[in-house]
Symmetry: C2
Subunit: 176 residues, 2 copies
């Protein structure tokens, strides 16, 4: 899935595209028929990253279910069926309360703290080599506030992940 | 603990201070007598953040043991005895492989991806209201490559956390 499909959402295209595609059940992602996996917020951490450009600043964390975590730690490729990767994306917020303390502790250093603000979206990659044979064995899903993005958004996922074919279409690397 | 005690380490002061304080066992943090908790990397995610200033750029994740996670989710203050918070600090690295894909998918947007590079240090806060009565009930520990920072570094932890007294000395908030 495109790491920045929220850009499409941000320009207000989602509602229109969803209507055009005739989606009825917005709790299920189109094309791949994926619902939000229960308990994903409890999964273990794969890594963190940070995306910036223009006004856009996001803090991100990737979590994995047990199958995903085991595969990442063992460096196993391709990922086995049953792997699920969750990508949590928050809008980055400047932390005034942290910055005040940094300024006292390290005067003149200009240290700035940025923390996870409001959630932007959550994305999932689900490995099922038979069901998702046509997209590298992966299904993709994008949710905001519990509701799925449109079919048009989901059509952008696999093309963007294709360049990472030699890593089984997964960008994230395990952070040690 | 000061979120940026690594600044002291970075200027090469650690080795000298450790020698001066006569530390023998560098696997145990001085003052608070804390070892790295087994299995901490498997703990659940509290939040992520990002620290920047001058040449310094870090991506950070806070993980919690079961007691910590339960308290964060319930908004319980003060944190109960047995709470352990782990703060994993990585040096931020620009991701050329991600940036190439972003440039293709979003030409002209100037999007930049930063990922977790080499680990800088790991810090722990351990709640034991009796043992650590004199420091708000918290013990603090700072490790790099499995070895503890010096006593001098550890003396900076509590003074920096004191301004967060109304949140039981914890800066991090749970990211939903």
């Amino acid at each position: 899935m495109k790491p920045i499909t929220f850009v499409l959402a941000a320009i207000g295209a989602v509602a229109g595209m969803a209507a055009a595609s005739g989606q009825a059940d917005r709790e299920t992602a189109p094309i791949y028929e994926i619902k939000i996996p229960p308990g994903y917020r409890d999964w273990q951490l794969i890594s963190v990253n940070h995306l910036a450009g223009g006004a856009l600043k996001q803090l991100r964390a990737q979590l994995g279910n047990d199958i995903a975590i085991k595969a990442f730690r063992e460096g196993r490729l391709p990922f086995p069926d049953g792997t699920i990767i969750a990508a949590l994306h928050w809008n980055e917020a400047s932390s005034d309360e942290n910055n005040k303390i940094l300024a006292i502790g390290f005067p003149g250093a200009g240290l700035q703290s940025f923390v996870a603000g409001p959630a932007e979206n959550i994305q999932f990659m689900v490995k099922d080599s038979k069901k998702y044979f046509g997209t590298g064995g992966w299904g993709f899903a994008d949710f905001k506030d519990g509701k799925s993005a449109s079919e048009a958004v989901h059509k952008t996922c696999f093309p963007c992940h294709e360049p990472a074919k030699d890593r089984d279409y997964v960008f994230t690397r395990y952070a040690r």
